[in-house]
């Protein structure tokens, strides 16, 4: 049990997918200008990663391994993630218009989010059992959503700050991201 808690804390805070592994930088810079957008993107990423991890994990151990096609994991996972995003978008469009209003526009962006593929591949390469896979697949997108939301609140305040002209926009945002990365690396001592 303590191992699972450690894995959760590590995947959310210490080995944070954005600040430690530098993955998913496109939505991190692109969709962090407003708190509401960041929250929408965060929720959509959590949902897609958890579902994608469950499907790819099952597909790998129940289909690819028994027929000896383990070398197909990368291409399989890419196609599964792309198909899953289409399926999710279709269902949300049809059954939950309100959810589509808040998440729909971010769903196609998730297809190209490398965090999704990273989670699916790490689950296999680290040979996680089901419980570890589930904890890692929930923790990683939660860390992504947390950092994206914190960063969006910082960027909203930066809009009102007196920033030197040369640093305006992405310049000051990247400096803030670097400081955040250093701050989060300090959390390594808690585990």
């Amino acid at each position: 049990m303590s191992e699972l808690v450690t894995l959760l804390v590590t995947s959310v805070l210490i080995n944070n997918v954005i600040l430690n592994q530098f993955l998913g930088m496109c939505p991190f810079m692109g969709v962090s200008k407003k708190k509401s957008s960041a929250l929408g993107m965060g929720v959509a990423v959590v949902f897609v990663i958890v579902v994608a991890a469950l499907v790819t994990y099952a597909l790998y151990y129940l289909v690819l391994v028994p027929i000896g096609l383990e070398f197909m994991e990368l291409i399989t996972f890419i196609l599964v993630i792309a198909s899953l995003v289409q399926l999710t978008e279709m269902f949300i469009k049809k059954y939950s218009p309100s959810l589509y209003k808040s998440l729909g526009v971010y769903l196609p962006l998730i297809t190209t989010n490398c965090v999704v593929l990273n989670v699916c591949l790490v689950n296999i390469t680290n040979a996680y059992d089901f419980s570890h896979m589930l904890v890692y697949s929930v923790g990683t997108p939660l860390g992504f959503a947390l950092v994206l939301y914190i960063f969006s609140t910082i960027r909203e305040r930066l809009e009102l700050s007196n920033v030197p002209a040369a640093f305006k926009g992405n310049g000051i945002a990247l400096i803030c991201a670097a400081i955040m990365s250093m701050a989060f690396s300090g959390l390594a001592g808690i585990v």
Partner: protein, 62 residues
């Protein structure tokens, strides 16, 4: 035999993707969602349809 199986498996996955893509395209958008846009400021991925560069090109063309 193994490589034939791999090709068939790959073909099946592509087929699933194409079918889901077409079904998704055919599903009508909910009311009020016809003109949704992401608040994306744009990164350097110009292949992404949300990149503002595409909107600028479209505006110039009009």
């Amino acid at each position: 035999m193994k490589y034939l199986l791999a090709a068939l498996f790959f073909g099946a996955l592509v087929l699933v993707y194409i079918v889901l893509y077409l079904l998704n395209k055919k599903t009508p958008l909910p009311e009020g969602c016809e003109d949704l846009k992401a608040d994306c400021e744009g990164c350097h991925d110009f292949s992404c349809s949300h990149n503002p560069a595409h909107h600028i090109k479209k505006a110039e063309g009009e």
